[in-house]
């Protein structure tokens, strides 16, 4: 059919099948920003376009229906160099973060303002009601609209975007535009899918229908005969190398317990085979023709099932240790079952016992906990259960790999480019100099892209076939074959004295790591190591065990284990306050740590190593609690006009870390270019959180150079130097500090070279705006451009290139307190989060507007896991709700009515310009704050995620 339409003001004509989706037609037309993040489910809104001025989802429209229509797409609004007022306002408000949906949101807001010159909050909410935002939350979208209107009406912004910090500094602590904002908001090439070569092969993966089974045989003969099929990979033709997919420092505190393909499948969705074909259709057709003979085995899905005597074993093969093997290992290995079990290889002991399904364990104690409990005036003891939740980044996992000049080039949407390179090296057998990993912009990670979940296989496929290969997870695969938050059972016993002190805490954590042990020790460790150090308590004990099961895999998720530990501990603390008859606020204020308090509890809580006992450093915890209590009017009972609705308040204190002292490592290279501009090569991986902007600001601040004269190249393993990656809240602290070190060194080089060229003493020179060296003695000024040119044209000492490395044993801990006010309906159990106030000490917020949006986004995610989100498995381990609609991610409709993020001003001694981490910690407070508020409202404790209306009604005795 011939279809004539106007796309972004240009008349177009296409001869296409009219049943083609409009989105596919627009992609054909080059409108790449019309994306899809849910396989046409009609939920996320990445495919939003305007047809004859009306917003629609282009995946749900057929091409044949737009004949004669006028279409506008997000990338038709403007190019990155000439942004519209709305697009610029979005960047300025801080909402353009990982930004997969930012172009579509810009289109919707443009449409809104074209049709309504004075939209209310409700109008904005409605305009964004069909677009899923996971990174920045929705709150600053209201601000973006306000800013855009102000600019349109009066030529400038009137509203403060975010508070500014450190008046003595130029750019650090000031809301300035994110440097990659224009590229992202305009929908220019940014993500892996935008860099895929023409004629690239597609790879699709055959996944196990069984939760546990041995593979007896795989017949690929019919599949191979499908025209266009290049290769089919299975356990029979891929290496036996055992590795793991967690992107952690090497040697990892996770067992190497998998191969590219195993001969035992361990969860529904586990890899069985992969088809590489010239087209996606051919690959899918071939996939359906693969015949697998399974020997189905019994499975376990919960920690209770996994720990039961005689439980089916998830791993039952040979165990090896790279170091620290126990003396009885040979004896232990005599118990190994079928060779198809494969191996479990520990880099060092994790106190595991796979014959009991224990993947890792740890325990420790300070003081004398048993004795202290005997002396307690009141004790609470309860179990808190968290559920299996998924990150749901808008951009599902994607990898494009190809051979180029004998090297393997991997385009990855990853938080850990250097770990990707190492693990791809392991599975292909290639040395690192033969592998080039290019981290593109990342359309949402939240921990899931800390794991090497598809890069291993895609890179291997490209390597063995010699063809360019693309693999792109479906949304369903994200749920069943990716990684998730470890479900945990957190048992807390807490004792207190009548004087309002906590004198004993015992925490028992049983975590479910699923079939493989990615992060199996460290996630549960964080439930203790990032919670217990909040308490000024001399007697504390923790005991954690991690179980293998046959659920979809677990891994890293923003907050790591901390949200779960915080949920248990803070709920128990609130209950204990009630039991002791003290006000919860006073109780928290009395028992939290302050600067200088020695954290003995940390000695056993290293990441698989001995932890360091350190004092509490900079700490804004007390201020966060007091300020938050004032904001929410703690102690003042609020009554609803409707007697069915009861209102309650709650809060929780929170902490996290800023990277892993003694383990993490970052490098940066700062180069003065020949015209006096600077290129900073940062090993750090910007996930959309503004890390590159931090690096640029560091250079601008130290070298007194305008931001537009600085370019940051990051996450490219060829051009940048090593960085452990963006996880454990390390980005700002480690990668930022590496940028500081490199830039300081460059500054020193500049001064030295200037002294030579100007014939002056270094001590007499200073760096001045805009990028020049000035002599305090002679008043002479030498701009960087001249300095650099002379340096490389025979009159100096060559190009100035500085290399900065950052490692530390210093620990900079962000603190905070999150407050919730909820309304609960006593008849229906419905819950509304009326108010949510997140107060955090992030040290110096280098990008304050982005920091606030990080907080809004993380809180919104945690409201999700607290109230709505949960993967539901049936008895066979099949996920029943592996789609966005049923899974329950919160949208703008679920955002709190009154939502505030507040930055507590604390200057840290070790962070770059005093900065600490910001985003992970913001995942920790919502569950306990809301749980405590629910109790305040209706008097019941809901001790499991998600805290649903049904659970409330059950706790209230309304249903059996």
């Amino acid at each position: 059919m011939n279809i004539k339409c106007i796309i972004n003001s240009i008349p177009r004509s296409f001869d296409v099948d009219p049943t083609m989706k409009l989105r596919d037609l627009l992609q054909l037309n080059g409108n790449r920003a019309v994306r899809d993040s849910d396989d046409s489910e009609g939920f996320c809104g990445s495919d939003t376009v305007l047809v004859d001025g009306v917003p629609v989802y282009s995946n749900l429209v057929l091409a044949g229906e737009v004949n004669g229509c006028e279409i506008r797409t997000p990338d038709g609004l403007a190019d990155p160099a000439h942004l519209t007022v709305v697009q610029q306002a979005m960047i300025d408000a801080g909402v353009v973060q990982s930004a997969y949906n930012a172009p579509a949101a810009a289109l919707l807001l443009t449409w809104l303002l074209e049709n309504n010159s004075n939209p209310s909050r409700e109008d904005i909410k409605d305009a964004l009601s069909g677009i899923f935002i996971r990174d920045a939350g929705y709150e600053h979208y209201y601000l973006a609209v306000k800013l855009a209107l102000e600019k349109m009406n009066s030529g400038s912004y009137k509203t403060e975007i975010a508070p500014s910090f450190r008046p003595e500094l130029e750019v650090i602590g000031k809301p300035l535009s994110k440097i990659d904002g224009p590229q992202l908001v305009a929908g220019a090439a940014a993500f892996v899918e935008d860099y895929v070569d023409k004629n690239t092969c597609h790879m699709v993966v055959l996944r196990s229908p069984h939760a546990s089974a041995y593979i007896n045989s795989i017949d690929v003969s019919k599949a191979k005969a499908v025209p266009g099929v290049i290769e089919i990979l299975t356990a029979y033709n891929t290496p036996e190398t055992h590795y793991m997919q967690a992107g952690q420092g090497n040697p990892e505190p996770s067992p190497h317990d998998r191969r590219l393909f195993n001969l035992k499948v361990r969860h529904v969705g586990d890899r069985v085979a992969a088809v590489i074909a010239e087209t996606e259709e051919a690959a899918k057709k071939a996939l359906d023709l693969i015949k697998v003979d399974y020997q189905v085995l019994p499975a376990v899905f919960t920690v209770e099932e996994a720990m039961a005597p005689g439980a089916p074993r998830v791993h039952d093969g040979i165990v090896e240790y790279r170091s620290g093997a126990p003396a009885d290992l040979d004896e232990y290995n005599k118990g190994a079952a079928d060779p198809r079990e494969g191996k479990v290889i520990y880099q060092f002991p994790l106190h595991a016992d796979i014959r009991k399904n224990i993947a890792a364990s740890n325990k420790g104690e300070i003081g004398n906990v048993d004795k202290a409990f005997e002396e307690s005036d009141a004790i609470v003891e309860n179990t808190y259960q968290t559920s299996q939740v998924q990150h749901t980044p808008l951009e599902t996992h994607i990898c494009f790999a190809k051979m180029d000049g004998g090297r393997l080039v991997v385009y990855a949407s990853t938080q850990v480019p250097y770990h990707v390179r190492r693990i791809v090296g392991w599975v292909t057998g290639l040395p690192e100099n033969k592998i080039h990993v290019i981290k593109t912009r990342v359309g949402g990670g939240y921990g899931s892209k800390q794991d090497i979940l598809i890069e291993d296989l895609t890179a291997y496929a490209a390597y063995v076939t010699g063809k360019p290969v693309l693999c792109h997870n479906t949304r369903e695969e994200e749920f069943i074959a990716n990684s998730t938050r470890h479900p945990m059972r957190v048992h807390v016993k807490m004792g207190g004295k009548k004087d309002g002190t906590i004198n004993a805490i015992f925490m028992e954590v049983c975590a479910n790591t699923g079939p493989y042990g990615n992060h199996c020790l460290t996630v549960p460790m964080n439930s203790c190591s990032k919670t217990l150090p909040l308490f000024k308590c001399d007697n504390m004990r923790y005991d954690l065990k991690v179980y293998y099961t046959n659920t979809p895999p677990a891994g890293a998720y923003q907050g790591y284990g901390t949200p779960k530990g915080t949920y248990g501990l803070m709920m128990a603390m609130a209950e204990l306050a009630g039991k002791l008859g003290v006000d919860y606020k006073d109780f928290v204020l009395k028992n939290h740590v302050d600067e200088g308090y020695m954290l003995e509890i940390l000695k056993g809580l290293g990441e698989g190593r001995e932890g360091a006992v350190v004092p509490v450093g900079s700490c804004g915890l007390d201020e966060a609690i007091r300020k938050g209590c004032d904001m929410i009017e703690w102690g003042k009972k609020v009554e609803s006009s409707d007697p069915d609705w009861k209102i309650g308040k709650g809060f929780a204190m929170i902490m996290q870390g800023s990277g892993l002292p003694g383990l993490d490592h970052s490098e940066a290279i700062a180069k003065l270019e020949t015209d006096g501009t600077v290129i900073l090569n940062s090993g750090g991986a910007d996930l959309g959180t503004g890390l590159d902007t931090i690096s640029a600001k560091v250079v601008a601040e130290i070298l007194k150079l305008p931001m537009e004269k600085i370019t940051v190249v990051s996450g490219d393993t060829d051009s940048c130097a090593f960085d452990t990656g963006a996880y454990a809240s390390s980005g700002t602290f480690f990668s930022g500090n590496a940028s500081v070190v490199a830039t300081q060194k460059l500054k020193d080089m500049i001064l030295k070279e200037a002294a030579f060229q100007m014939n002056e003493k270094v001590e007499d020179l200073e760096i001045v705006h805009p990028g020049a060296v000035r002599s305090k003695a002679s008043g002479k000024v030498l701009p960087y451009g001249e300095l650099s040119h002379t340096a490389i044209s025979g009159g100096g000492h060559g190009q100035m290139i500085a290399h900065g490395t950052y490692v530390t044993t210093a620990s900079s801990v962000p603190y905070g307190a999150h407050f919730a006010q909820v309304a609960v309906n006593v008849k229906t159990g419905e819950i509304k989060v009326q108010k949510f106030y997140a107060l955090q000490d992030a040290g110096t917020p280098i990008n304050p507007e982005i920091a606030l949006c990080q907080m809004y986004g993380a809180v919104q995610k945690s409201i999700g896991h607290s109230l709505y989100e949960s993967m539901i498995l049936d008895k066979k381990g099949r996920c029943l709700n592996a789609n966005m609609t049923d899974y329950g991610t919160p949208m703008i409709t679920e955002a709190p009515e009154d939502f505030k993020a507040v930055l507590i001003d604390v200057n840290d001694k070790f962070g770059p310009f005093g900065a600490k981490s910001i985003s992970e910690i913001a995942c920790n407070g919502a569950a306990p704050a809301i749980g405590i508020a629910i109790h305040d409202a209706v008097g019941v404790w809901v001790r499991s995620w998600p805290m649903t209306p049904e659970k409330i009604l059950r706790a209230m005795g309304k249903i059996k």
Partner: protein, 254 residues
């Protein structure tokens, strides 16, 4: 996946193309979505047949508002003639973009067990008109929609002055409803995921709307499809149905 798209010029022509292999394409939000309930080789586009008008009408002397089948949810929300109760039901579809696409006729036709509009339409005594001018109640259509599978709905008639109160329960606003209740004077429509509309005749036969009575009705109502599932337990859904009927009736009485 559809293989053919027909763009007919009239409702009559559209009806002629309809058979068991084909489906009418209205807003496309059901047909074109992932895992759609609809599987048709041929799609008959009805979006440009002028079936989207909203105007006053009269049937057997009773005033109605006639909503053309291809009027979208947004058309209804924006039209001043449309009563608030029906606008509220349209708002049960939380995504504005989807409301711009989804049609009233499409929602009735698909007759889902988590339908946005059906409970409200049924409680208010709404009617559905086919291209052959035959008119039946929405309730009749819902309960026997397979019989009408090949018929083109051209309009829905709603009572502009009905006093309908409705409530929808879902995990998040964009999730699927597991219980939706609508009441209108004596009429009660209760829709439960898995079961669809459940039998409310015992409730409708009584004037008792006390919580105790409604809960007892809900506990006992016979329907083997009210089951525990991922949306909630059977007892929760039954409780919610009962308590909500009583609540909405009480609100109405206020």
């Amino acid at each position: 996946m559809a293989e053919k798209l027909i763009v007919p010029r009239s409702a009559i022509a559209a009806s002629r193309y309809k058979n068991s292999e084909s489906a009418f394409l209205a807003g496309g939000t059901e047909i074109n979505r992932l895992n759609s309930y609809v599987d048709a080789k041929t799609l008959i586009s009805i979006g440009r047949l002028g079936l989207d008008t909203i105007n006053d009408a009269e049937i057997d002397g009773k005033p109605y508002l006639r909503i053309g089948a291809t009027a979208t949810f947004t058309d209804c929300i924006e039209n001043p003639k449309v009563p608030e109760y029906f606008k509220q039901a349209c708002h049960f579809m939380s995504s504005m973009v989807k409301r711009n696409m989804a049609t009233v006729g499409g929602n009735v036709a698909i007759a889902r067990d988590d339908s946005y509009l059906i409970p409200t339409l049924v409680a208010s005594g709404a009617l559905v008109e086919f291209s052959n001018e035959k008119i039946i109640t929405v309730k009749e259509y819902y309960l026997r929609h397979f019989r009408h599978a090949n018929k083109l709905i051209v309009a829905i008639y709603i009572d502009p002055s009905a006093k309908v109160r409705s409530k929808r329960y879902s995990n998040t606003a964009s999730g699927h409803a597991y219980v939706t209740v609508a009441v209108c004077e004596k009429n009660v429509a209760v829709q439960i995921k898995g079961a669809g509309l459940v039998d409310t005749s015992r409730l409708e036969a009584s004037s008792d709307r006390s919580e105790a009575f409604c809960l007892e009705w809900a506990e006992k109502v016979k329907n083997k499809n009210i089951k525990s599932d991922m949306f909630g337990s059977e007892s929760y859904k039954r409780y919610l149905a009962g308590v909500t009927v009583s609540m909405l009736c009480k609100e109405g009485a206020r």
